[in-house]
């Protein structure tokens, strides 16, 4: 038969010491994590707008409006396009660079430090820098192209519909490929050398070794890197905002920009709450699915 101990003893006793230690963290987590979530949920069922601080219950009105908001679904589609293109390219380039730097090259540390620089730049600064680089008249990219063509080049990188996605993707990939590179370099460095030597002795080729030994060894790290970057790309904002503000029209508007415009420029507060909840649900499903897939959820 178990001895029942009063709650106060459980909390205040010696064994409760551990709860006392983690209590502040739990409290802060609840305060900054759970409370906003619950509050957003609450607001999403109300009718608060710029004009009307209507906190009465509006049922599913905001959620049904989501279904017919074509701009929202287009923004979601743009986000998915950015993610689906940038993520594999960053992964592939990061892996290639990591493979290159896994060997002890002369000046390796200096090159790695230089390669990592874009990651430490704030995305909004990166966006502003690329905006200058891509400037139609004074940007160096058009000037360099002009040297090759022999005439003035005035490509409208952030306006022309054919160039606007490549421009944003170039900036995004430039900034975040080094992040992939760093994680994958660390993972590659941890691959068991004895296994590689054994494979070599057994006559395994480069690709066989890579797919049978290296990839399985780095997969947990790679999966986490994909997950982190995938989530980052899903909330892509700064670079797009700095380069196009979601234009031309709403052609490059991401879900984050859409949410910002609705919430903080147009003050559609309750509707934005519903959008935020939609994003949280979508991302949660994706993350849980991904974690299960790579078996690190446990």
């Amino acid at each position: 038969m178990k001895n029942k101990r009063p709650l106060s003893q459980l909390i205040l006793g010696d064994r409760g010491f551990k709860y006392q230690l983690i209590a502040p963290s739990i409290f802060i987590l609840l305060l900054i994590g759970i409370f906003p979530l619950i509050y957003t949920l609450l607001v999403s069922f109300q009718g608060i707008t710029m004009m009307d601080n209507d906190t009465s219950f509006h049922g599913l009105q905001n959620y049904t409006a989501l279904g017919t908001d074509t701009r929202l679904w287009e923004a979601l589609m743009h986000t998915i396009i950015f993610t689906c293109i940038a993520l594999p390219i960053e992964l592939l380039l990061g892996l290639l660079m990591a493979q290159l730097f896994i060997d002890k090259l002369p000046g390796r540390q200096i090159f790695i430090a230089l390669l990592v620089l874009p990651v430490v730049v704030a995305p909004v600064v990166s966006g502003a820098t690329w905006s200058l680089l891509l400037d139609t008249r004074f940007g160096p990219i058009n000037q360099i192209l002009g040297w090759f063509t022999g005439e003035e080049v005035t490509l409208l990188w952030t306006i022309n519909p054919d160039l606007v996605y490549p421009s944003i993707l170039a900036a995004e990939i430039w900034q975040w490929t080094p992040f992939m590179f760093l994680l994958l370099l660390a993972a590659l460095s941890a691959v068991d050398k004895s296994q590689l030597e054994a494979a070599s002795i057994d006559g395994a080729g480069y690709w066989t070794t890579f797919f049978k030994i290296v990839l399985p060894a780095i997969w947990p790290v790679m999966a986490v890197a994909i997950l982190i970057r995938g989530l980052d790309l899903f909330r892509l904002f700064d670079i797009v905002w700095a380069l196009t503000r979601g234009g031309p029209g709403t052609m490059t508007e991401t879900i984050s920009i859409f949410t910002y415009v609705k919430g903080f420029q147009q003050f559609e507060t309750s509707y934005t709450g519903a959008v935020a909840l939609l994003i949280i649900i979508l991302l949660s499903v994706l993350v849980i699915g991904a974690l299960k897939k790579v078996e690190i959820a446990r």
Partner: protein, 502 residues
């Protein structure tokens, strides 16, 4: 019975009621701040409005009160930081804290402060087109009572007509003092238009005299000709704002000068009418005789093009005229302005059509959540007064433009550079015929749709299709606000003298 009063209440109840009453009085006192009520009148006889404001503010500022004012970040805010703020502190004892906010965030910050009830701001700079939104929200204090109390109505009448009649009131009540003559003017190169060879060539080509264009058709004709004649010398016929944020203002001006109306009698958007399509098509035509990449031109790009002598005509806000004249170009705060190559060669005129846009601008308001409303009011009355505003509009580093009749006649201002009198005369003309920015409930949503349309124009979409989409979006916004409600606001706006050309 012990503890029982004559009224029958026991002592505890009585004490509780007294305490509650005291608390209520205390709380109401806390919330009241410096408000002394707007009723009654102040003895203003023989004093200027600036003197009245200073005298009335002194007792309110005796405890070293701080007035917090929201001001556009950058050059604009150098006025209260370097000039008017310290001057007010010296005169009254009230400190002035300037909260610098980028224009794009000003509405949001003001709205957030009001919604949060934090009372962080006392006085505000408000873009007049936002007034209906902010008034409806409850964020602005109605000023009629204080205007009457401090006898300011007379000086308000001396604000140039187009600002006074269009940018001060909502539903007939005063919510802000127009404080910035932000109006588009056309700037042109007098030396180019005076060249005999160009005059002869234009005459033989078109049969017309080469003069500053007063219609958009002439503007295109002259612009094309000048580009053809001067491109080898590195000068284009014209340059213009094309970046959508600025294009929004230019479209609104030009659309109405071409006869366009924003809505019909049923409040259905008509921005996609022939006038709108003509404006878009004309823009595409004009871009062909302007510098490549003009689609990206904002304030600074266009300014650089003009003051460096690379374009013969442009349209912009009043500071262009001062910058191009080289007025105090050695001022440290203006070191970002490209050095002018055309000082002494600039002419000033109304843009083609004759009805320039009162693009953005600023009015001074009092935040309804302020705990220092009266002191804040007195500060903005003082800023806006004849005496002080005449000094403020001449500050070389700030961007407040002439807006009072007396500013256009100011002899000191006329002497600031050789052509300053012509500049003031053109601004004076613009102050009679200017067109208001569209101002509705949720104006920014309408403007956002238009800005997106302009960006699609530069991306190559069809003008009619773009404007049809903009009109459809406007109709959706109107429906979401409530057609009848929005119609009433629009009709009130459209009834103002500056809504449409007469």
């Amino acid at each position: 019975m012990a503890g029982t009063t004559l009224s029958g209440w026991d002592t505890k109840t009585a004490v509780a009621l007294v305490a509650a009453g005291a608390l209520a009085v205390g709380l109401s006192g806390c919330g009241k701040g410096d408000d002394q009520g707007v009723s009654g009148s102040y003895d203003t006889s023989g004093k200027s409005s600036a003197e009245v404001a200073v005298e009335a503010a002194k007792p309110l500022c005796a405890d070293g009160k701080t007035i917090t004012i929201v001001w556009e970040a950058g050059l604009q805010s150098l006025d209260p930081i370097k000039f008017s703020g310290p001057k007010w502190t010296e005169a009254t004892g009230c400190k002035v804290e300037v909260v610098e906010v980028p224009t794009s965030e000003m509405f949001t910050k003001i709205a957030q402060d009001y919604r949060a009830g934090s009372g962080a701001y006392d006085a505000l700079n408000v873009i007049p087109a936002w007034m209906p939104d902010l008034v409806q929200m409850g964020a602005l204090e109605e000023l009629d009572g204080l205007v009457d109390k401090y006898g300011y109505r007379g000086e308000l009448q001396n604000i140039a007509a187009t600002y006074r009649d269009n940018q001060m009131t909502v539903d007939g009540k005063i919510y802000g003092f127009p404080d910035d003559g932000d109006v588009f003017l056309m700037y042109y190169r007098k030396d180019i238009f005076a060249r005999q060879d160009l005059q002869d060539a234009y005459k033989s080509k078109t049969g017309k005299d080469l003069v500053v264009p007063t219609t958009w058709e002439d503007f295109i004709s002259v612009g094309q000709f000048l580009t053809g004649a001067l491109k080898k010398e590195g000068t284009f016929g014209a340059s213009m704002f094309r970046e959508p944020g600025y294009g929004n203002f230019m479209f609104q001006e030009r659309f109405r000068n071409e006869g366009g109306k924003f809505f019909d009698g049923d409040m259905k958007a008509t921005v996609n009418s022939a006038a709108g399509v003509k404006v878009f098509n004309d823009w595409l035509t004009e871009n062909k005789f302007m510098a490549k990449g003009v689609e990206k031109f904002g304030f600074v790009e266009n300014l650089a093009e003009f003051v460096q002598g690379k374009s013969a005509m442009t349209i912009s806000w009043p500071p262009y005229g001062r910058f191009a004249a080289g007025y105090l170009e050695n001022e440290e705060a203006l070191n970002w302005v490209p050095k002018t190559q055309i000082a002494g060669k600039i002419g000033y005129a109304l843009p083609p059509g004759g009805h320039p846009e009162l693009a953005a601008g600023f009015a001074l308001s009092v935040a309804s959540g302020s705990k220092n409303k009266e002191a804040a009011y007195l500060f903005i009355q003082w800023l806006n007064s004849e005496e002080i505003s005449n000094q403020r509009v001449q500050l070389p580093y700030a961007l407040r433009d002439p807006f009072r009749n007396s500013h256009f006649e100011n002899e000191g201002y006329k002497a600031l550079w050789p052509d300053a009198k012509d500049y003031l005369a053109a601004l004076g003309d613009a102050a009679q015929t200017g067109l208001l920015d569209l101002s509705l409930i949720q104006t920014d949503k309408y403007e956002e749709a238009l800005r997106q349309g302009i960006s699609r124009l530069w991306a190559g979409d069809n003008p009619q299709k773009i404007l049809d989409d903009v009109a459809a979006e406007w109709d959706k916004i109107t429906a979401s606000v409530g057609t009848d409600k929005q119609k009433a606001v629009y009709e009130s706006w459209a009834a103002k003298s500056g809504a449409y050309p007469n």
